[in-house]
């Protein structure tokens, strides 16, 4: 919100919103997912651009709604119009507002994790990096295999927790090896996943959503989670 407003956007938050429905869709529960998605489409009916902070939600709305409603021409048309208006957060800043420097300041090394749906469904990878480089004082240090999955995969993380944790373990090693203090991602699932293990392992790195980084004005990110005491 802060970042968008600083960039001069009149942004509102439709209070009735709940969920994009991806959890159900990915689990194969089309019926349930459709109901939830319909609620979403109702809440976000209109003409304004819709900005989505999480990459997987954005790809659900932009891409998978078209599959979910493929057999209903009326709903499909609505989904298509919504898809055209929907933008993931960094995509909106860089490609719609044409802004790469939002006036943020953060002294520290940052590494970026390419969330899977954001990268492979929405093909967004240059935009977040451009925004990070636009942060005064921040240094972008690429990690090895930034585009490898973090192991979350929604319900996968609880259906096969051992495998999920093992995949995450490798991601954390790469984050550590990059030398960065902060890992930035544009996906709430990935962030929750990475944060969960960073804190369990007592690692010093923090995981931040790109908006948190961009909202930072003085070297401390706004609303950062409390650092777990060692």
């Amino acid at each position: 919100m802060k970042v968008l407003r600083r960039a001069g956007v009149d942004v509102t938050f439709p209070a009735d919103q709940t969920c994009c429905g991806q959890v159900g869709y990915n689990g194969g529960f089309e019926q349930e997912a459709r109901e939830v998605a319909l609620h979403f489409m109702d809440v976000f009916d209109g003409d304004e651009p819709v900005v989505v902070p999480s990459g997987s939600c954005a790809s659900m709305i932009k891409i998978f709604y078209l599959d979910l409603f493929a057999d209903d021409p009326v709903l499909l048309e609505r989904a298509q119009r919504l898809s055209e208006r929907t933008h993931e957060f960094s995509d909106f800043l860089v490609n719609v507002l044409e802004v790469e420097n939002v006036g943020a300041a953060f002294g520290g090394t940052v590494t970026y994790h390419d969330a899977c749906h954001l990268l492979r469904e929405l093909h967004i990878s240059a935009e977040p990096r451009a925004l990070i480089e636009g942060v005064s004082g921040a240094e972008l240090a690429e990690m090895t295999d930034s585009d490898r999955c973090c192991g979350f995969g929604g319900l996968f993380s609880v259906k096969f927790p051992e495998v999920s944790a093992a995949i995450l373990g490798e991601k954390l090693e790469n984050i550590e090896a990059s030398g960065a203090e902060v890992v930035v991602a544009n996906d709430c699932g990935c962030l929750m996943h990475m944060r969960g293990a960073l804190s369990r392992k007592g690692m010093r790195q923090r995981a931040m959503h790109i908006a948190e980084l961009l909202a930072s004005q003085s070297g401390l990110a706004v609303g950062q989670p409390e650092r777990p005491e060692a």
């Binding site: 407003r5 938050f13 919103q17 609620h39 096969f160 495998v163 929750m192």
Partner: protein, 481 residues
């Protein structure tokens, strides 16, 4: 299809993750394959490689659409070349055909070059029962044959075996002295198998491609055992799934460019054999009889479904395995079937029945990396999703989601269907999480299914105020903050 143990994926994958041996092998091999492939692709500008993939995908799709025509063409052309074609509806029929051919020439020993479809068939066990000794000649297959195991990877079947284990196997079965020198181990296999090459009665191979236009079986190999198997014995039997057909001889060039690079990062393998029939009367050597067995064994399940048909485009390169974050951590055995990794997670349920393999479509984060590397552009994540959908809402024989899952999903749906419901659940959640939250994190979630999270990760507690509340109370009226 032979015994499929894919329903044990949960346990098997957890065990694999805990196994230092498997983890060491995966660490060593997976990166090697990925880097080799990346290096091989550097030769092409990205658009060229893309065009190649697109063309190969289109050729395969066209072939599958007209598969009856092309299979007939294969038969007529192989016959014209002096060979024989057999059609096998299932593994049992295919095994019977092989045994009949072997018995008709009084074969006592069969040498085999790598063939995944023969693993599906369980051919070796059948041959042994019939008093015919099968000898795998591909080094990796030879090792797993001695170990009585199934392949760990489509291209590198014995990648999970350390040199010490190989040395022990050779010591136990061939009575050779233990050694940790890899070259020496290879030379032991070379001598042992060289004898067999010279004396075997029948050679059995798979087929990488079957060219309809000329009735040609194409073998893509590196060791030389494929050539031995198809040159020395009196009879050559090639076994191929029906989906291996490509239409024209001039199509081979494209597939020979895609397959080795995708599989091992080679521009071309050491040997490529093009076999269209038995030896010509004037040939100095070569088999007198050539048989091609075309096998269905569940592939028609994939063919008859317009969405799943594309899974039959697969050229068995293994690239999807090498890039898959799940395969890279668990390896091939956990998938419980002959085909593992992303493609295995699609074809095993389709060929063996979803119920026998219900975990496999969920053994994926749907990251999409497999789709990126597939040389024939199979949309594997989409197919996995479709399988998940069938487990929930498919036919009676497909429905296999658990009662718990269905309940959870209905709960989720109700919770997020309206704002009010969500806020009520959140309030309840804030109340319940109090006792289990320490220092702003939840270390143990005592809940079924979701509790698995906290085995290795902390769970974030719900924030004291939802964003919607903050918005309502503070930000909405703010205009420009």
């Amino acid at each position: 299809m032979t015994l499929v143990k894919s329903s044990q994926f949960r346990k098997a994958s957890a065990a694999a993750v805990r196994s230092p041996k498997i983890q060491i092998a995966l660490d060593r091999v997976m990166d090697h394959f990925v880097e080799a492939r990346a290096h091989a692709l550097e030769e092409f500008p990205p658009e060229s490689w893309e065009q190649m993939r697109e063309r190969a995908s289109a050729i395969k799709a066209q072939t599958l659409e007209n598969l009856d025509y092309y299979l007939d063409l294969v038969d007529r052309n192989v016959q014209r070349n002096g060979g024989q074609v057999h059609f096998a509806a299932d593994a049992a029929e295919a095994n019977r055909i092989v045994v009949d051919i072997a018995k008709s020439v009084g074969a006592k020993q069969a040498i085999k070059s790598k063939s995944m479809v023969s693993e599906e068939m369980g051919l070796n066990q059948v041959l042994e029962r019939e008093g015919i000794e099968p000898v795998e000649t591909d080094l990796g297959e030879y090792i797993i044959q001695l170990a009585h195991e199934t392949p760990f990877h489509i291209i590198a079947p014995a990648m999970h075996k350390s040199r010490e284990e190989v040395s022990d196997l050779f010591h136990d079965w061939l009575k050779t002295a233990p050694t940790d020198d890899i070259r020496q181990l290879c030379m032991i296999a070379r001598s042992a198998l060289r004898e067999k090459f010279a004396t075997a009665d029948i050679g059995i191979t798979g087929a990488n491609f079957v060219v309809a236009e000329t009735g040609t079986v194409v073998l893509v190999t590196n060791e030389g055992n494929g050539r031995m198997t198809t040159s020395v014995p009196r009879v050559h039997v090639a076994i191929s799934g029906i989906e291996k057909v490509i239409p024209a001889i001039e199509d081979v060039a494209l597939f020979l460019r895609l397959l080795p690079r995708s599989a091992t990062g080679q521009r071309i393998t050491s040997y490529n054999s093009f076999i269209s029939g038995p030896r010509a009367p004037s040939d100095e050597d070569g088999p007198e009889e050539f048989h091609l067995i075309l096998v269905d064994n569940g592939r028609l399940n994939l063919l008859k479904d317009p969405e799943f048909r594309e899974a039959l485009k697969c050229i068995r390169c293994g690239a999807c395995l090498n890039t898959c974050p799940v395969y890279r951590k668990v390896g091939g055995h956990a998938y419980g079937g002959v085909y593992s990794g992303p493609i295995g997670a699609v074809v095993t349920p389709m060929m063996a029945g979803i119920k026998d393999a219900k975990d496999l479509p969920h053994a994926s984060t749907l990251c999409g990396s497999c789709r990126d590397v597939c040389p024939v552009k199979i949309d594997i994540p989409k197919l996995l999703l479709r399988l998940r959908q069938r487990e929930v809402g498919g036919s009676a024989s497909e429905r296999s989601s658990t009662w718990t899952e269905r309940l959870l999903m209905r709960r989720w749906r109700s919770t997020v269907l309206t704002r009010a419901a969500l806020e009520r659940s959140a309030s309840l959640g804030r109340f319940l999480q109090g006792p289990i939250t320490r220092r702003n994190r939840i270390r143990k979630l005592p809940v079924p299914v979701l509790g698995g999270w906290t085995k290795a990760r902390d769970f974030p507690p719900l924030a004291p105020k939802s964003f919607a509340t903050i918005w309502r109370d503070e930000l909405a009226g703010d205009g420009r903050g």
